[in-house]
Amino acid sequence: MEERCHDLIDYFNGTLSASDRDAFEAHLETCDDCKQALQEMQDLMLPIAESLPARPVPAGMKSRILGEVLGSARPTEEPLESTSNEPVRQETPHVSEFETAQTEKKKKRSVPLGWLMSIAAALILSLGANAYFLSQDEASPEEEFAMDEVKGMGNFESTASIKGSSMIFTKDDQEYMLVQLKDLPPLKEGELYQLWTIQGDTPRANGVIEQDGEAAAVFPLKGDGAIDAVAITVEPEPDLEKPTGEIVASVAL
C-alpha cells in the first residue's frame, strides 16, 4: 500500500489540507484500489440515509428555508435584516481595517486585465444565479460580450501573497463585482474566503469563495451606491454581519 492510500478516509471526510487533498486526487488517478474504495464509500451514502429512521420535519421548515434561499438570490433586493442562522457577532477591531482599506485609495485605473475580461465574458453570458465559478481554461473569449459600464477596477494588495483583480461593472441595470484571484492560501476545515464590499467604512458581505489556489467569480452587488473598496477575510461562516477575520487582501477601486 502506498503512503497516500492512508489519506483515503481523511479525503472522504474533508479533513485533508488543500495540498494533501490535491496530492490525493492525483494519487486517485493512478490507484485503482483507492478509487474503488472511495466509490464504495460514496455509493453507501444513499442506502445509509434511506435506512435511517424517519424524523418528523419541523413545522414550517420548507417555507423558512425556501424563503431564505430565494431571498438570498435576488440581487436587487435589499439584504434581509437578519437571518435565522446568522450568529450575532460582537463588534470586532477588524472593522477599522476596512477604514484603512478604504483610505488606501490609489490612482490605479490602468490595470492589466489579462484573462479577467475573457472570464467575465463567459461568466456573464451564463449568469443565471448568484455567482458562477469556473477555471481559467473554460473561459470562452471569442463569445460576444458587452459590459454596459465599468465602474471601477483594481489589483488586490495582500498580506498573504494573494494576487488578483476586481472589477465593478453594470450589465442590464444590475451591478456586478468580478474577482479573479490566484495563490489563495489553503483554508483550514470549515473556513471560507468572504468578500466584502466597502462603502465609506461599512463592510457588507458580498460573496463567498470556498476554495484555495485560483478562483474567478462574479457576484451581483448587494445594496446601492458606489463601492469604495473590496476586501477579503477568512471566516468560519458565510455572510456574517461583520468580519471576524483579518483582511488577507484588499483593493481600492
Binding site: 500500500m1 444513499l46 420535519v57 419541523p58 423558512r64 443565471g128 458562477y132
Partner: protein, 181 residues
Amino acid sequence: MHTQSDESLYHEMRSGDELALEALYEKYERLLFSFAHRFTNNDRLSEEVIQEVWMKIWNGRVDFNTDKGKFSSWILTITRNAALDCLRREKRQPTIEVEERDGGFDEPVERTVIERETASEVRNAVSELKPDQQELIELVYFKGLTQQQISDQLNLPLGTVKTRIRSAIQSLRKIIDGRER
C-alpha cells in the same frame, strides 16, 4: 412535474426556475432532514444544515454534473459535508445553547447504537453489523473523524484502520444488497 428526473429538475433550477427548486426541495426534504439529524441530533441544527445545502446549490457555490454520479448521492454528500462542518463549528465554539439540544454530540457511540436498536422499527442496516463494525461506520460516516483519531480511539494501528473500515463497508453493502433483493 414530480415525474421529472432529478437531473432535469436540477438544470431547470440552475437556470433560475423557482418551481424546480421547490420540487427538488420537496422531494428531498424528509430524507435530508433525517440524514442531517443523524449527525446533529438536533432539529434546529438540522434545519440550518439543510438551509446551507440549498443556499449553496441555489447560489451555484456547488455544482452537480452527471460525472459526479447520481444526484441523490451528490446531494447527500453535500449534506454530509455541511453537517460535519456544523458539528466541527459547534465543537469549536460551545455555546449557551447546549441545554437546548435534544441530545449531545459527545454521546457515546454505544448509546446511539442501543437507541437505534430499541426504536420501534429497526430499519437501520448499520445495526445488523458486528458491534466493532458499527462503531467504525459511526466514526467514519457520522462523526467524520480522521484516520488518526479513529486509530487513537479504537487503539488500532493506523494501517489497520483503512482495512477494517473497508471490510465494514463491504459487510454493510452485502446487508443492504440482501434487503433489496
